[in-house]
Symmetry: D2
Subunit: 137 residues, 4 copies
């Protein structure tokens, strides 16, 4: 399995814009963290939806890299997200991904997103990544 | 109908992070534009998926404001996006939204995203916004 | 909490077409079973996609009834399903639903579908039910 | 392009359970019809959600066959459906599909579903079909 440090380095190169950090990488699972501050909030103290979509996408990507190794050019083909509760304005977002399928060309995973320390998720996503054919596995 | 200028001003207040600009607002439709530069690209010259998700979300929001007026606190409850083709690295993303339903409490719309000037979409999204009960319409 | 027998009776009245049976109803969860025979198969021995969509929809409905009681006229507003593996042609489909949110007007749940006895799911769905305002809870 | 009659014959063999008929097949588009009677209704005169999911799936399949020819074993990998309005209890359901992408291994399309003669759709779906690698195109 690919190490957390390798994945964190690769993530920084592939998604240079993201402020997500890798919390853990397990067997077909991963968790990532995103800080919440002024840049992530909408008026009323709601975390912006696109921030949560981005965190869900990164969590899927990190879990995939953990499962199949460092594979450049894997791209999302589908992402479906449901927003469930108003997140906290002053807690980090934690996203936990579990892969449901890791096939030759497609991987599918689900992600639960939490305001750190909360029991109930603030959002839930399911996404598909396309794995390039020359991934050499 | 709410004017394009009113919506642009409200969008800047509600989504202060977005770099989207409003191109047009019509009857249950809208189009928005997002510039593409280093901040939006992944290695290989792909526009980052989260950027396109954010643009789709804003296009839905702008179309909704055009249809029901300036309503604070409308929030996305669901967004589903399919990534169809590799976008251009040096063309703006243009998103065109058509609302499929504008109900009392929920509005649903679809969004086609293009690299400017292309005939075929680079992504397609469908999303639901929840309209607050006290929207006073 | 509503009993399994009450829900089974109501399901038979509301979805008279379904061949699903209720296996279990728990706290914000449910499982249902659907027999697989000639009527559910496509050539090649694949369970027809629409059969699995129907089973996912019923599993969500049963879990919702378990959580909020017998409420007529609750309707699905969104369902997203991913087909993960070819199901067995001679095993029942078992669907296990967990509710992610039970709000005043919307409930969201996820469903994993299995060929009976398999460890990995053959499909995974996420759906939203709209709860009528006069549900009297 | 494959003829409507060829596709209708193949559909009858691949989806023997469906009561859908092929209305038209065009360039990356198709429309299908499903009769509505007691078997498709829930109490209150609502068309059952699973019936509409099945019609959407068939519309996608017919459009795909029209675009790439008679290809056995193409299977749905993802379907997302939004239910927008209560359908009529005594009008056929008409589904119109437009393909958004026809790639080597994946095709994506959107489907609008109508109670026959209505202007506004009763449901809207987006789905992905996986095309088998030996499709010989």
């Amino acid at each position: 399995m690919t190490s957390k440090a390798e994945i964190a380095a690769f993530l920084a190169a592939e998604f240079p814009q993201t402020r997500c950090t890798v919390e853990a990488v397990g067997h077909r699972s991963a968790s990532v963290r995103h800080p919440i501050g002024e840049d992530e909030l909408r008026p009323g103290g709601t975390v912006s939806g696109p921030v949560m979509m981005a965190v869900a996408d990164v969590a899927l990507y990190v879990a995939l890299l953990g499962a199949i190794g460092i594979v450049p050019l894997a791209v999302t083909t589908n992402l479906n997200i449901n927003f469930l509760r108003k997140p906290s304005a002053d807690r980090d977002i934690i996203a936990r991904c579990t892969l449901l399928k890791v096939g030759r060309s497609l991987a599918v995973g689900e992600v639960s997103l939490y305001s750190e320390g909360w029991e109930d998720p603030v959002a839930h996503a399911v996404g598909t990544y396309s794995i390039p054919p020359d991934a050499g596995r």
